[in-house]
Every structure is written in structure tokens, then in C-alpha cells.
């Protein structure tokens, strides 16, 4: 029954979107982390989605997070000579997190998540209707 695949598809998409939301949260939380376990300032991270076949049926394509990449853009240099992490010229390397980008990313992820929930609800309604056949 193809309709059952909708649950797997929507479920995988919800999982991927929630991972994206997690990454956004850690980016925003670490927007001012000038140091980390590696000794370097925090680098913004982004998820990379990829399509993934679900079940036996052709055409049922879910989503998975293929990898999480670090943003290669240079760090923001902020003049703050009083900071213990400042370099010889008095500049501190701040994380390359762009809060505006992260906020839009967050809205997009939450909208996609809502779409997936809606999709699951529709599939449930259809299956329940099918179950009531002949009654």
C-alpha cells in the first residue's frame, strides 16, 4: 500500500528538518564563542540534505542529512584589545555566524516541518477512510 510510505517519507523529512533546526540553534547559541575545544573560534555549521529512497516502491523518496559542513567564510575580526584572546594588533576573531541567515533558516525549517506534519495527517485521514470501506 503506497499510502503507508507517506509516513516514512514525512517522518524522514521531519527528522532532517529537526536536525537542521538543531544546527541553527547551536549556531545562534555560539554566535559569540571566541574559543572552543579546538582552541579556534566557533565556525558556523550547515546541514546538507540528500534524497533517500524509502521502502520497496519506486518514487517514494525521503530525506536524510548527508553531512554537516562547516562554513568556510573568514572569521569576523573585532577590535577589542582588552580581550585575552586578542592578537598583537588588538583584534579578536569572532565566529562567522550570520544571525540574519540563521533566523531565516530557522523559519524555513519550521515551515517545512509544519508541511510534513500536515502531510502525515492527510495520509492518516486517507487510510482511516479506506479502513471504513464497506461499513
Amino acid at each position: 500500500m503506497s499510502l503507508f510510505n507517506v509516513f516514512s517519507i514525512a517522518g524522514s523529512a521531519m527528522l532532517a528538518q529537526s536536525q537542521r533546526l538543531n544546527v541553527v540553534a547551536s549556531n545562534l547559541a555560539n554566535a559569540n564563542s571566541t574559543t572552543s575545544s579546538t582552541g579556534q573560534p566557533y565556525r558556523a555549521r550547515q546541514v546538507v540534505f540528500s534524497a533517500m529512497p524509502v521502502g520497496q516502491s519506486a518514487g517514494a523518496v525521503g530525506v536524510r542529512v548527508a553531512k554537516i559542513v562547516e562554513d568556510p567564510t573568514p572569521m569576523k575580526m573585532v577590535y577589542d584589545p582588552g580581550n585575552p584572546l586578542a592578537n598583537a594588533k588588538g583584534y579578536v576573531a569572532m565566529p562567522n555566524v550570520n544571525p540574519v541567515e540563521e533566523m531565516t533558516n530557522m523559519i524555513s525549517a519550521s515551515r517545512s516541518y509544519q508541511n510534513d506534519v500536515d502531510m502525515m495527517n492527510t495520509a492518516k485521514t486517507l487510510l482511516l477512510k479506506t479502513l471504513s470501506l464497506g461499513q
Binding site: 517519507i9 534524497a51 492527510t122
Partner: protein, 134 residues
């Protein structure tokens, strides 16, 4: 008489099958709205239903000359032709999912599915009335 009933029921059942398959395709599209390079897919519903009605499954079967051969599992049991949607405004990352179109088609397909389920129920009710002769 029985053949006629069978025919009518078969039509509705193949319609439901095709609708369920399409629902799954459309939900794949919506799920992959943010996947780079994903191309939205759909079927020509009217043409496929017509083809199934004509009895033309035209399915390529894998010949098994020994019982120990692996059966070719039908990944696409209805043998429908899945096509890529014409992109209206593709994204820069190569994704061609247009959320408005997909959501519209998704709802449309769901309502049609419910309609046919309702018609099957009505068909059964009609038959029961005829049998009881009230």
C-alpha cells in the same frame, strides 16, 4: 450482471491504487523541498488511468528459468510512467519543487481519493439495497 459489477469496482479500485501512488510521489516532492538538485516528479493521472483501464500493463518481466532465481520485485506495481515536472521557478540549488503547486496537487489528490472511497461505499450500499429488495 456480476461482470458488470466487477468492472465498475475494478475501475474504482485501480483509481484508488493510482491515487495512493500519486500521493506518495507528491509527498516525496514536499519532503524534498529543501534538498539540493532534487527534481519534482508527477504522473499524467488521466493517461495512466486510461492505460490501466485498457488492461495494458505493458510491464517488463524478468524471466526466471529456475525456481532459485531471484524474483524481480515490482518496485512500481502499476507500471506507471513517472515524469519530471516542468519547473516554473527553479531554485539556484537545482531544486524544482514549487511548494504552491505541490501542496495544491497534494490536497486535490487527497480529496479525489476520499471521493472515490465514498463512491465505493455508495456502490456497496446500492447493491445491499438491491439485494434486500426494499
Amino acid at each position: 450482471m456480476t461482470t458488470q459489477l466487477d468492472e465498475k469496482l475494478r475501475f474504482m479500485v485501480s483509481d484508488l491504487d493510482l491515487r495512493a501512488y500519486r500521493q506518495q510521489l507528491l509527498s516525496s516532492n514536499i519532503a524534498n523541498a529543501d534538498t539540493p538538485n532534487y527534481k519534482a516528479k508527477d504522473i499524467d493521472f488521466a493517461a495512466e488511468l486510461h492505460r490501466i483501464q485498457q488492461g495494458g500493463t505493458s510491464r517488463l518481466k524478468l524471466e526466471a528459468t529456475s525456481p532459485r532465481h531471484l524474483p524481480a520485485l515490482a518496485a512500481n506495481p502499476l507500471a506507471v510512467r513517472v515524469r519530471y515536472r516542468q519547473p516554473i521557478q527553479p531554485s539556484i540549488d537545482g531544486n524544482t519543487v514549487d511548494m504552491d503547486v505541490e501542496r495544491g496537487q497534494f490536497t486535490d489528490n487527497a480529496i479525489h481519493y476520499q471521493f472515490v472511497v465514498d463512491r465505493v461505499n455508495g456502490f456497496f450500499r446500492t447493491m445491499l439495497t438491491a439485494i434486500k429488495g426494499q
